[in-house]
Symmetry: C2
Subunit: 214 residues, 2 copies
């Protein structure tokens, strides 16, 4: 994906027409568009292809299956036009490796921790190990929450020069500046853009925040 505005739109909008309108309005402010399963279930896998004409698409599929199934999911996501795919490391190194191998140079981001309360039960205690799995499996980078910038700095110390994508900026309370200054390469904004009356103006604001922070 490109590295210009440092802004990724989390297109967690399940009204397909509205999602497309938001993406079209904001696209030139975005380094990528992140798409999750609910939008794909609403519009079919062709939404990946449509969105990929506007900006690089990262499928936030959080794949968490055995290696062969992970590989098939990644293969299909890339086939439909995705430039990246997100995978859980909690289902083990071989499951991550299968996606990395299938990516053939496209991007694979590993989920190392999650922001919801249940994320503290099993995944957060393993976050450092999960980041190491990401490195050893050859992933492009990891996902680390903007709501906890000190964790971004810590994860940065574990993964060297790999990329950090940081969700939770905006409606969830994370700050673009704090995330980027602590080592994130990209901020991910969802409702702060697609929930705004003027998504394009909102994207311009977040891109400006990112530019000023760097």
């Amino acid at each position: 994906m490109r590295k210009q505005t440092r802004l990724i739109l989390a297109l967690d909008e399940t009204d397909v027409a509205r999602a497309m309108a938001v993406a079209e309005a904001a696209a030139d402010q975005l380094d990528a568009i992140k798409v999750n399963w609910p939008l794909v279930l609403a519009g079919g896998p062709k939404v990946i292809t449509y969105l990929a004409e506007l900006a690089p698409v990262v499928c936030d599929f959080k794949v968490a299956d055995i290696p062969n199934t992970n590989r098939l999911i990644a293969e299909s996501a890339f086939h439909h036009g995705a430039s990246g795919n997100n995978v859980h490391a909690i289902t083990g190194r071989d499951s991550v490796q299968a996606v990395v191998e299938e990516a053939k140079g496209k991007e694979v981001f590993v989920v190392t921790e999650m922001s919801h309360p249940g994320g503290k039960e099993f995944t957060a205690p393993a976050a450092d190990q999960l980041a190491r799995v990401a490195v050893e499996a050859g992933a492009t980078g990891v996902i680390a929450p903007a709501t906890r910038p000190e964790r971004i700095a810590h994860i940065r110390s574990l993964i060297g020069g790999r990329l950090i994508l940081s969700p939770g900026v905006g409606a969830q309370g994370g700050s673009a500046a704090d995330a980027l200054r602590n080592g994130a390469d990209y901020i991910i904004v969802g409702r702060g853009i697609y929930g705004d009356r003027d998504p394009r103006a909102a994207a311009i604001r977040y891109a400006r925040q990112a530019r000023e922070a760097l």
Copy 2:
């Protein structure tokens, strides 16, 4: 889902036409058809709807996201005609509960352990806790591997009368009889049926094995 033959087909076939032909041939031998993401990405979410006309469909989506995203995925799976959905417990109790609440009486099965080598790294050590999360969140049942029937018996002791669905019968080496006698309610067969030259005859054989084991 019905409880007649105790046989669930894992329709891990990504050629949509072939998948439909297999399902049509075997349907009257099946208590359910299990569908995973690769088939949905190949054929679009309408494959769920088509298959649900043949037999109850369990979406083996192994959802592993925050509660709201899990809820949206489950809502869409049920909307497209699924009677059940699979969810990881490793992302925490609230993520499972969100799917159970969205199910409104439909079925939710929790992944407690997986059969691939990477499953031993993080999930297998937590399997007993994950089974307890399934019970406490009010899930319909859990998934437990036929390749390790002693684990089925152990999981049975943890979850009371909840259902156990047991994959790995056939090509992966699990035995229908061992799984059912150790407490599984259903056996899940994939390649042993869809990879057979005569999927209907194969389904009849597995259904007979299940009947004779009980």
